[in-house]
Symmetry: C2
Subunit: 556 residues, 2 copies
């Protein structure tokens, strides 16, 4: 095992032992691709989620939505997931274990992920890779396997097919009209959603990187494609980022320069690249382990204008953790087509626009005698008819009555139409975050090993912004009232909104420091004999080891 693999094994062992992240359902034999956030990790997950939410809400034109995870067939058919959300699968002829064809062929091709079904089939036939489960080499024909978890909504013959959502985005697209109304019909605006996403992986691997159930966080930002966004990125423009342009080597560049030179094709995409970088830094990702990689043309969906991934570097190499995609009007248009409903915004013209179009009016000489007192109303109705109307034709007049209009009653006419604005399909820019992958890299980057007394000494250098336990309280002994005093201080800390404290009375203070360092507690408070006399405690810093004496009242 390489040094990197050994470190990964030690890190995973610690994360499991200390209750950060554990394989789910383990006492029942487990289930691949499912993880629990344990007594320490649960709080970490909450804090990263909250930090993400606060980060976007502060823009001032973003709201939070929460939509169901169970989703009817029609919604995911419209979005394209029923047709296209799939991997190529093949099944071992011996043990019947299913594998992803591209993964089997990793040793036989530089980028099997990009191969089409028939190319995968040919390569599989030619290279006969071994089954990872049983080492046999006979494979069933390659087939596309949809990756959505299937379910049925309702019972009996009233049951309808549904899926667990593969992303949170669709609920935000189908809510467009609600959002448009909420924002008083003024773009740009966005909606965010945090929640579970599901992907029924054929053969999950790589721990938190490929999960079947994961924590997602997406922003859908709706813009008017005809309104150029502000090209000056302000503060964000000065960020120095590692960018990997399409077909280029990584290079360090000011964000504003990347936009000005056209490497990043849209100012709002550039803005979100900058904001994403700031978020990652905020939760403790090391900035030298972040790069933004532009999608190749053939990697990008046909409708996409520009796509960048934020990749983070850690124990698994460079891993995509955020996707920032300019999706054009693809999604809203797809739901419009499938439902016949409109999902549009209105753009007012600076000046009203007049256009002259061909239409009809009545021929007074014939229509007057025919319609008598109703002639005025018939005229109005006829002038609203489109040019391709064929006469005779029945029109509805004001009182709701119908009237038969003959060809001889009408003549061609030209009509001037004045419009003050128009309805259009907004474009969407979507930053989509894989929260589990980000948390994994936060842990990976924070994990520090020192040598102490010939043993590895572990310290998690987690950011104060997301640390799962803010303070730990230790009674030197649980006697002479020190235990009660320490517990009272612990409870007072816990009562402070947003602060989490941990109480630990087992073993030597040194052992307790070590346990606290291992889960990244920034400050440890020790209650000793002196506390009982002068109401002060010792506060020891995780990162410096420094200990200072502090009055209890100044702890929080």
């Amino acid at each position: 095992m390489s040094e990197r693999e050994q470190r990964l094994e030690r890190l995973n062992g610690m994360l499991r032992r200390r209750g950060f992240i554990l394989p789910a359902f383990e006492i029942h034999g487990g289930a691949k691709g499912f993880y629990d956030f344990g007594p320490v990790g649960g709080r970490l997950r909450s804090r990263v989620n909250q930090a993400w939410l606060d980060h976007w809400l502060r823009m001032g034109n973003i709201v939070e939505l929460s939509c169901p995870t169970v989703t009817p067939y029609a919604v995911l058919e419209a979005s394209g997931h029923v047709g296209e959300f799939s991997d190529f699968m093949t099944v071992c002829g011996s043990c019947e274990e299913a594998s992803r064809a591209d993964v089997l062929l990793e040793a036989h091709h530089t980028n099997p992920d990009a191969l089409k079904m028939d190319e995968l089939q040919n390569l599989l036939d030619a290279s006969k890779p071994e089954c990872p489960a049983c080492a046999a080499t006979e494979w069933s024909p390659v087939e596309a396997q949809n990756l959505m978890f299937n379910t049925t909504i309702g019972a009996g013959s009233s049951g309808r097919q549904g899926f667990l959502r593969p992303e949170t985005a669709q609920g935000m697209f189908t809510s467009f009209n609600v959002l448009f109304r909420h924002f008083r019909e003024r773009l740009p605006f966005g909606a965010v959603q945090l929640g579970k996403g599901y992907r029924n992986e054929i053969a999950p691997r790589q721990g938190m990187i490929r999960l079947r159930e994961f924590n997602m966080a997406e922003l859908e930002y709706f813009i008017d494609p005809e309104k150029k966004p502000e090209p000056n990125l302000g503060d964000l423009g000065d960020l120095m980022l590692t960018l990997v342009g399409e077909g280029q080597e990584p290079s360090s560049m000011r964000l504003q320069d990347a936009l000005d030179t056209g490497l990043i094709r849209h100012a709002t995409v550039a803005e979100f690249i900058g904001r994403t970088h700031r978020f990652l830094e905020h939760v403790g990702i090391h900035t030298d382990k972040i790069r933004f990689r532009q999608h190749e043309q053939d990697e990008m969906a046909h409708y996409a204008v520009d796509c960048w991934d934020a990749e983070l570097h850690g124990s698994y190499g460079w891993v995509e953790c955020v996707g920032i995609a300019h999706r054009g009007c693809y999604d809203l248009e797809a739901h419009e087509k499938a439902t016949g409903k409109t999902l549009r915004a209105r753009r007012e013209f600076d000046e009203p626009r007049t256009t002259v179009i061909d239409a009809w009016t009545i021929n007074g000489a014939t229509a007057g005698p025919a319609f008598k007192a109703m002639a005025g109303q018939v005229k109005k109705a006829v002038e609203d008819l489109p040019k391709d109307t064929v006469f005779p034709c029945t029109v509805i007049i004001d009182e709701g009555a119908t009237v038969e209009v003959l060809a001889e009653h009408v003549k061609p006419n030209q009509k001037t139409i004045k419009e003050t604005g128009e309805w259009y399909l907004p474009h969407v820019i979507e930053p989509a975050f894989g929260i589990d992958r980000i948390i994994w890299h936060v842990l990976d980057h924070a994990y520090k090993e020192d040598i102490k007394n010939d043993d590895k000494y572990v310290r998690m250098e987690l950011s104060d912004k997301i640390v799962p336990v803010d303070m730990a309280v230790f009674p030197l002994f649980e006697k002479d009232g020190m235990g009660e005093r320490a517990w009272a201080i612990h409870q007072r800390l816990c009562a402070t909104p947003g602060l989490v404290s941990m109480y630990d009375a087992s073993g030597s203070i040194g052992r307790r420091y070590a346990r606290a360092d291992e889960i990244g507690v920034p400050r440890c408070v020790t209650v000793d004999h002196q506390t009982l006399e002068d109401e002060t405690v010792t506060v020891r810093s995780r990162d410096t080891g420094e200990q200072i004496r502090v009055p209890i009242d100044e702890l929080c």
Copy 2:
């Protein structure tokens, strides 16, 4: 329609129009039992969730977990859900719509919910209720329909049956050993989890009360059944609550008295009733619309010691929103039985206990010559064998070697065992909250209608603790720089952690106040000409209508 139904219709209309709560997937024709939290409701949901979490974490011995929603068959078989989580269904012979048998029979029985399958069948045959969809009266035989959403984990023949969890609790029970280690093996402690639960209702109705996908929040609190909890409830004991004891009429009572008189059977159950009451009050539930109802013996699971529901009163009458159950050791024991793993806590004895048990030792006369130098090791191995061992028998000695021991090598022996403690199954007390139902009642209680200019004027009197929008900023006009100034103030408010502001520039200030009142914004800030001169704004209170002039710097 009754006045109550009319009010409910207006309330629902407002909640939908203003983006609190909306039927999900509506443009695709909708799906019964699924709701979206919209641009206003999404934030409300987040804040109620956060308030719930903070409420329990401050106890100091509670941690947060997050487990998957997709759950393997084995876990839910062990918990009893595969066998028992069902409703009785019957299908219309004419339109094939499925209905719940007990719901169909509501007009024909006072409590059809309590009937067994054959009783329902007899009553259905006798009363022939009309199908709510098509009014036909022919019904298929009543059958038990499991209410879990079904799915398959994995693809092809590797696929395994799974379900969407019906509650969050199971992940916390199966994590018991992780929790026990985290809390340094010291009870009592608890775990909380917030997240989605699923129930594939046969025929959902009553809006947010019966959902197929819902927001749950559960606490599993593990206690030592032999350790009596503190009977003095402190502050909590003074709460005056409406309690409905088993078979009794509602009565107002001090919580401490309810415990002391034995109406509430366990001090920790009483404590959680008090804490639940405080939480409900904190998020804005009117305390005169809360009551705690004790389960009848036949309503309670056989293993339960005491169960109380918090019921809230609103547009649907009294509705169960929280269940507080003393579940004994049922859940941990069920998972132990199913998995063969232990889920136990350790209790140290005050004094070590010695017991004498029958066992074996070697017969020196025969074993000495037979085993020679190894005799000592064989002796040790033999003394560890249970009394029911049959000889000859193979034992493993220290070096891992095996040795055949014959009957003649051994003789009966008595062994003294000294034990310092014992392993036991903890008991569990579980407060389980239906967050959607609580949010529904928060909205119902906050909804106030006044008459203003002959029209209904709506004001949501939401608590500041959970209000979705804290402040709204209005420029008097969007000219002379007032729009830019107002937007800058709005952005500054948004940048304040935990604060959400809304910007509104459409229509008269009066209209904007009305819109803000309708979603419960406590304070509206108006930017006018004077703002540009002296950096002050008008702040208007939702509840009093009072307006005061405040320097911008003092807004937050």
